[in-house]
Subunit: 273 residues, 2 copies
């Protein structure tokens, strides 16, 4: 775990967190993975696979490709392996315990790379993008998916709810990440030397007409993610316990029958020239 | 013009504004109008047609339908007529100078209704939705498209830029409107008695890979719209001249080669039961 100091995963590593990431990936899989499929025989690096929430979808969408799933947490890798065994049996996945910033591959070793919800946690995403370029063959593609909490927009709106979201943004910033990274994908990838950088918004919108999305995304992905940093936010003195509870209660109204919730993920596809 | 007191159009009525609305409609037409086409022979009410920015696209998408375009401004109607003559010649459009809240039609007079960028300017959108239901036949559809300035997200981000956008939101609120209405479409339409209310986000994202959108949307639609309220914002004491200029300069960086800009429109389709 030589990246323990370079990446502080703000959401933590609890059992509950692992479930959250699974829920999130399943609800969003179609939206996020649409358009991502690799030819049989290609070698695809998933950098920062975590607990395998995206790995199962990558493997399912690209039968015949080999997924090389890398993470700096041995515990996450073990969970990822279990998840893939359960949900995408028979898929071709190699597991590597390694540092994103120092990948154990020679230059141009993989055909494509896929990175989801990873750059937002890194203190130096440019360095990770450079390392990914190193291991990508010329002409290979990089796909990056990241959120941007600035896109969280909900009804009823409220200052208390916005304050708890802001706690999450500040905690992520304090640990070297950037919860507002999505909007920066284009300049980040361009500056790292990738070409043909195409970024597309993937907007989730949930209201009473989409109860599964209200449940799976508004409640069990976004609000659950914000709720998971309560103790850290209080410990850091960012908010009082009562203001926190008021904010969460306010935010939960977005999942009520008259509530609505909007969030945009940014998906970039670029070429290593 | 019996609605002069009920609707204060925050963007004003200048020549330049008319051009802006034209640019906006053309750039966004595909995004906003996709999926909207009415059968030949149907009577479609466009309530609040303004200068006809959407009317031309409505007419073009629904050849054979009759568009009944209503606005409370005679000057806007004249411009709308010119625009349709120039851009959608031969289309079937009836022009009516009337109040949205007191439409000159009997009950159940039209098959469908279309409303774009109108509710956000009304002090009582619920009343307008009720009046639209009155003139819609049972089983007829209502389509509503509105923006939500809370979705404006850009890189580089900056407090000065956010302050000028906030001036626009506050001015619109002061004149009885709501620049954050998009997120409320679902509860508004449901409360007005419409059924099968389906709201979908239509997200615009512009960066260096889409120069026409940077020009047509970021610069000449969104930033131009914010810029158009400078005098009002200063007169209302919402901001100083220098803070305004700093904010606009900051916002314009979103249209630079390394900048990005994101905005979500909300499109609702519902049925009059």
């Amino acid at each position: 775990m030589n990246t323990a100091t370079s990446i502080e995963y703000v959401h933590g590593y609890s059992e509950r967190e692992s479930h959250r990431l699974g829920d999130q990936a399943d609800t969003l899989a179609e939206l996020l993975h649409e358009g991502t499929a690799y030819p049989a025989g290609s070698r695809v690096l998933e950098a920062g696979c975590g607990v395998g929430a995206q790995t199962v979808h990558l493997a399912a969408s690209s039968p015949g490709a080999t997924i090389i799933a890398v993470d700096h947490s041995a515990a996450s890798l073990a969970q990822a392996r279990d998840r893939v065994t359960a949900h995408a049996p028979g898929s071709e996945v190699e597991w590597r315990h390694a540092d994103l910033l120092d990948l154990p591959f020679p230059d141009a070793a993989v055909d494509h790379a896929f990175v989801c919800f990873v750059l937002e946690h890194l203190a130096d995403p440019a360095r990770a993008l450079a390392e990914l370029r190193r291991v990508l063959r010329p002409g290979g593609t990089l796909t990056v998916i990241e959120g941007d909490h600035g896109s969280a927009l909900f009804h009823p709106d409220g200052a208390a709810a916005r304050a708890v979201i802001d706690c999450q943004v500040r905690l992520q910033a304090a640990s070297g990440g950037d919860a507002l990274l999505g909007r920066r994908l284009q300049p980040l990838l361009s500056a790292a030397g990738y070409t043909e950088v195409r970024v597309r918004p993937r907007t989730v919108y949930a209201d009473r007409a989409r109860p599964a999305l209200v449940e799976g995304f508004t409640r069990h992905t976004f609000i659950a993610m914000v709720e998971s940093v309560r103790a850290d936010a209080l410990a850091a003195g960012l908010i009082t316990g009562s203001a926190w509870d008021r904010g969460i209660a306010e935010l939960r109204r977005a999942a009520d029958p008259d509530g609505t919730f909007h969030y945009t993920f940014f998906k970039a596809v670029a070429v290593n020239p």
